[in-house]
Amino acid sequence: MFDLSPDEWIAIRLSLRIALVATTVALPFGIAIAWLLARKDFWGKSLLDGIVHLPLVLPPVVTGYLLLITFGRRGTIGGFLADLGIVFSFRWTGAALACGVMGFPLLVRAIRLSFEVIDRRLEDAAATLGANRIWVFLTVTLPLALPGLIAGMVLCFAKALGEFGATITFVSNIPGETQTISAAIYTYTQIPNADAAALRLVLVAIVISLAALVVSEWFARRAGLRYHGD
């Protein structure tokens, strides 16, 4: 019962890879946009905020479809990138893109909140000590935002791991290429006598999600400790 078949292993490895790549690539963009939203006032700020949060409220199928028409081979951006050798459609990279987009609002939200609660006076103190704006950001702002950064990454990772609608719409459900755990579970529920396989993957999904939560809790606690004691 608990022996995972090669196909199931492939789905698990693929899911982990897609979620990791999605989170890692989204992180720098997430930090930049969270910082803009937390610290700057500019024309179109509400619009940017809205666009970032859109995947959270849109039906995932709609997000997937929008990705398909922009990042597909014939899409405006996809066509251009395809010429450069970067192809998203029906590849695992496309699944990572879809997962990254879906997890992005959660990532930005958590980081933005942590930027907003940072005591700006500490940044002033760093400036008087000789730190220019980049150093202030790297040595004060970013480390102080660490708990939020970790929380955001875990949320994004979890979202990416569970993403289904946008991924399947954008890159379909191809075993070994775009078939993640979620898609595999869905497939197993559609074929007779695959209940055991579906259940095994369900258990795996629970274990991975729990592990991510525990690890992030541990990191956040460690980062939090640094504020209050040695």
Binding site: D119, R121, L122, D124, A125, A126, A127, T128, L129, G130, A131, N132, W135, T139, V140, P143, L144, L146, A223, R226, Y227, H228, G229, D230
Partner: protein, 246 residues
């Protein structure tokens, strides 16, 4: 004017004569600050009631706020001049700032906090100087702690050390004792006096407590409602001496 980085405080006797010249105007909402004074070496106290504009003035000197008009210069080193459009950012002013609430970096240890300014100024490590300041302020036993585990008095001593170790041309102290109870104030005052006598850096000391000022300062600039109303020696505080806290 900017001393070379290997220089010690003791080598900087020349700086004792250094002169801070401030002539600024700044409007913040309904509050209007228009202050002109000069501070020559030693410790100059900015004295006045809360809300008089002392902290604003110090922030203007540090570069954390920009004046609407005016000029700030440390000897011939112009920090701000609205006429010529000069406005050095705080990180290039090399002015140490001890804040009322310390503002130590909570994610760094005391040792890392102390080292921060030197690191940012790209000064070479100077163990002897660090040891001197650490023993001057008696903070050797705290080096491995994080600020969250320090008492209020310890925090302020570390904050002073941090500002000193960036080798500033001028030291600003904005009510460094205000957040402490009386016992802690009495604990810190001797360190401040030592700092004045040994560090040989011109200091601007902000306070609304005459009792602190007479223990530390040699020159008093009295500020009320955004204006300099008097400028002179400690005799300016004679009226307050009678009701002194210390």
């Amino acid at each position: 004017m900017i001393p070379n980085s290997g220089e010690r405080f003791s080598d900087r006797i020349r700086l004792e004569q250094s002169m801070l010249a401030v002539d600024v105007e700044k409007r913040l909402g309904d509050f209007e600050l228009a202050a002109k004074f000069e501070a020559a070496g030693g410790v100059t106290a900015l004295f006045g009631p809360s809300g008089a504009g002392k902290s604003t003035l110090v922030n203007l000197i540090a570069g954390l706020l920009a004046p609407d008009r005016g000029r700030i210069a440390l000897d011939d080193h112009v920090l701000f001049d609205s006429a010529t459009g000069i406005n050095l950012p705080p990180h290039r002013r090399r002015i140490g700032y001890v804040f009322q609430e310390g503002r130590l970096f909570p994610h760094l240890t005391v040792a890392q906090n102390l080292d921060y300014g030197r690191w940012m100024q790209k000064l070479p490590a100077d163990t002897a100087e660090t040891e001197r300041v650490v023993s001057l302020l008696d903070i050797g036993h705290l080096l491995r702690r994080r600020p969250g585990r320090l008492s209020g008095g310890e925090r302020q001593r570390v904050a002073m050390g941090r500002a000193l170790l960036m080798k500033p041309l001028l030291l600003l102290l904005d009510e460094p004792l205000a957040s402490l109870d009386r016992a802690r104030k009495l604990e810190i005052l001797p360190y401040l006096a030592r700092l004045r006598d040994e560090a040989k850096i011109p200091m601007i000391y902000v306070s609304h407590q005459a009792g602190e000022i007479v223990r530390i300062a040699s020159q008093v600039v009295r500020i009320e409602d955004g204006r300099v109303v008097a400028d002179g020696g400690l005799e300016l505080l004679d009226a307050e001496r009678k009701e002194m806290v210390f």
